[in-house]
């Protein structure tokens, strides 16, 4: 079996062609104008314009992303996104309401959602890839519906009953389903990371959580809260200020821990996934530095909070630039040789992509 961990992959592509670094040229100030105008239009139209705003946002980021001198582009239709959003919103409200209701109906709705979700997610992958292009050639997602049910429903169930011991395995299967079924024109992508590699990263995650939990325990924050709750349980009054202070400290600690662990985990797993993905014979290399990602996420978070959200465009651009520019393509042959799928071929698979059911669900 092919056993190439991308991280250890040879630094020089065997073809002798230069590596192609992904470039992102967007700027926060430039994006701010687009963001705020679209936000206003979304508010004024009571959210309807959000579909158009989303297309513009994706186009801004896609078109500013260049590989080998050519940009990507997004072709999604705002109307389809709007339909997708209306349906997603309906499902979300139904779900939230049923969960609060605690009635037998809850089970029915949750089950119905579980049954529809894999199909929706598959359609969502298709929508996103089909509407992405580079050099005038589109991507495609050709995963089967059965595959989606195996990946989301069966594996999800297995993960639950094994108390998440299977979670890394499930993650690997999900990525294999996504990447093995992705195409650029007539060139198929493939996924080579093994479950064992996922387990290694998940074990590091677990270790980090344990260490942090111990640190929090030693610091005595948890103890302070427990004492306050104990007093309250006995029916006595607790000083609300002490309570508030404790709750805020715990809150802050949780957010910090989440950003810390989340960033490092995200960097490691993204590196693993993309470094083990190939497009035809072309290799991909992803070298995201966990500490740099942590710094970006942490500073973004602080600045977005301090500016009541107005830093958001800069935060999004910073994050996108960092993440995209950590990716390199190692061409095995000339990048001019990709062939688009024949229009007829698109028709056979992509026919449904054009139907009303092929909507986009943002997840």
């Amino acid at each position: 079996m092919d056993n190439n961990s991308g991280i250890d992959a040879p630094s020089q592509a065997s073809s002798g062609l230069p590596r192609e670094q992904v470039r992102f040229t967007g700027s926060g100030a430039e994006y701010f104008g687009i963001w705020i105008v679209n936000l206003l239009l979304t508010i004024v139209t009571l959210g309807i314009y959000s579909a158009w705003a989303k297309v513009r946002r994706l186009q801004y980021f896609y078109r500013h992303t260049a590989l080998a001198g050519s940009s990507f582009d997004f072709h999604g239709s705002p109307i389809k996104i709007l339909i997708g959003r209306v349906i997603a919103l309906g499902m979300l409200i139904g779900y939230n309401f049923s969960v609060r209701l605690h009635s037998p109906l809850t089970l029915v709705i949750v089950l119905a959602l579980a049954v529809v979700m894999p199909w929706l997610l598959r359609n969502s992958f298709r929508f996103r890839l089909y509407n992405t292009s580079w050099r005038g050639t589109r991507f495609h997602f050709r995963g089967s519906v059965g595959g989606a049910y195996r990946v989301f429903l069966l594996n999800g169930f297995l993960t639950l009953i094994t108390l998440y011991v299977m979670a890394p395995f499930m993650h690997q299967r999900l990525k294999a389903y996504q990447h093995d079924n992705s195409w650029f024109g007539r060139t198929q992508a493939s996924f080579h990371a093994r479950p064992g590699q996922f387990y290694v990263i998940y074990l590091q995650l677990l270790a980090a959580i344990v260490v942090l939990a111990i640190a929090v325990g030693v610091s005595g924050i948890g103890h302070a809260l427990a004492t306050l709750l104990q007093i309250q349980k006995r029916g006595q009054h607790v000083d609300p200020h002490a309570m508030l202070q404790t709750v805020l400290i715990i809150y802050g600690t949780l957010i910090l821990a989440l950003i810390l662990i989340g960033s490092i985990f995200h960097a490691l797993i993204t590196n693993l996934i993309w470094s083990n993905t190939r497009l035809g014979e072309h290799r991909i290399e992803c070298n995201m530095s966990p500490s740099a990602l942590l710094w970006i996420n942490l500073s973004n978070f602080v600045l977005v909070v301090l500016t009541l959200g107005f830093f958001m465009p800069w935060a999004m651009v910073r994050l996108a630039k960092f993440q995209l520019e950590s990716v390199r393509l190692l061409p095995a042959s000339d990048l001019q040789e990709f062939v688009a799928a024949e229009p007829e071929t698109i028709g056979a698979v992509g026919e449904e992509a054009a139907t009303a059911f092929d909507f986009d669900i943002s997840l």
């Binding site: 430039e30 687009i34 936000l39 078109r63 609300p240 001019q336």
Partner: protein
């Protein structure tokens, strides 16, 4: 002369081409390319900052252009006009106006839009939903936080009889279920469930020690029931929560929860005010003074004096303010009352409320919170 990359839509081959306008047509020439297309059939992508722009031709081929200024010159020849959103995005004054407008609209939506929508929504929700919610809440609370009442049967019956005899301002009598319970945790309290069921705790009856004043508190609870405040709060909290999850969700799901609770508190204050006004009208209609509720509040305040106010987290307007408001109403209605009651004129210097909102929020409540906010919580 405008240079661009031409893609034939069949492969990723890059062909460097020159673009020009001849008459009404776009002419593209370069390696293996010699095209002439009426410009009206060419789709020009909008300008998004410094990103390359694309000209899409009707046959599925396209040109990617990086020299935006040269493209603008070319477009000006055919009098192509960018879309209005495109122009607004680049217009500094409009961008600044958008910032201001977004902030103002957000404040307005929060202050007036959402309460209005939630109140309307609560009015049109089928009563069965309120019923189901209430049954669930009681099921969770009974036996854990709520214990059987220790008030004597006769006392309970007497209070119930007086309660059910209350004539409502909108006509009819109070047909809400009145439940007696004891609760060490909730102490002196009364609250209304989404279907209008009122739960009266022993602590409240004994601390007030005057059934007429207790009826004043119940009148306030009937105000919550009448306004469907339970459902309204539920809808509002869902909406505020959903908004925050959407707005801040990208950064942190955890952060989404806290501000929602703070934003919520403001609404509770408005609802308390509404319930007080309703209670005053109800009491006047029954020949009682709105001052009864003020007296009850005062007695509870005095009893709880010393407990620090949760300040910005408090869901109640200060008791002082409420009492002044109610007493003003009492004075105004004095002429209409058969036997005006005397009120102790003691002015309250203690501005603390006995509202311990944190206690309330930290309770092991089910996801649905009753309107656990009056007059204590």
């Amino acid at each position: 002369m405008l240079r661009g990359n031409y893609f034939d839509g069949r492969s990723t081959r890059v062909r460097v081409v020159n673009l020009s306008i001849v008459g009404e047509d776009l002419v593209i020439t370069g390696e293996d390319v010699d095209l002439r297309v009426p410009f009206t059939q060419v789709k020009v992508d909008e300008r998004l900052g410094g990103a390359p722009r694309r000209l899409s031709l009707p046959d599925g081929t396209s040109c990617e252009i990086r020299d935006l200024n040269a493209l603008d010159t070319l477009l000006s020849v055919v009098a192509h006009r960018d879309g209005w959103v495109e122009r607004m995005q680049r217009h500094v004054q409009f961008v600044l106006f958008s910032c201001l407008a977004c902030v103002l609209l957000a404040v307005a939506a929060y202050r007036w839009g959402l309460p209005w929508a939630a109140a309307e929504g609560a009015r049109y929700l089928p009563p069965a939903i309120g019923k189901t919610l209430s049954v669930q809440v009681l099921k969770v609370l009974d036996g854990r936080i709520l214990l059987p009442s220790k008030i004597s049967g006769e006392h309970q019956q007497a209070l119930s009889a007086e309660f059910h005899a209350l004539r409502l301002p909108e006509g009819g009598t109070a047909d809400n279920a009145l439940l007696f319970r004891e609760s060490p945790q909730l102490g002196t309290n009364a609250f209304t469930l989404p279907d209008g069921t009122i739960v009266l705790l022993d602590g409240l009856i004994t601390s007030i020690g005057d059934d007429q004043q207790t009826l004043g508190v119940l009148a306030h609870e009937l105000g919550h029931a009448h306004g469907r405040h339970g459902l309204q709060l539920l809808l509002q909290s869902s909406a505020v929560g959903a908004f925050w999850a959407f707005y801040v969700g990208d950064i942190s799901h955890l952060l989404a929860v806290a501000p929602a609770a703070v934003l919520q508190a403001r609404y509770s204050q408005d609802l308390e005010q509404q319930a007080d006004d309703y209670a005053a009208a109800l009491l006047v209609r029954n020949g009682m003074s709105p001052g009864l509720l003020a007296d009850a509040l005062e007695r509870l305040t005095a009893r709880e004096a010393g407990v620090a106010n949760a300040g910005y987290l408090s869901s109640h307007p200060s008791a002082d303010k409420r009492m002044r408001h109610l007493r003003a109403l009492a004075t105004a209605s004095r002429g209409k009352l058969a036997a005006p009651r005397q009120h102790p004129g003691a002015s309250l210097t203690n501005n603390s409320t006995y509202v311990d909102i944190l206690t309330c929020r930290a309770l092991p409540m089910p996801r649905v919170r009753p309107t656990c906010c009056s007059p204590l919580c």
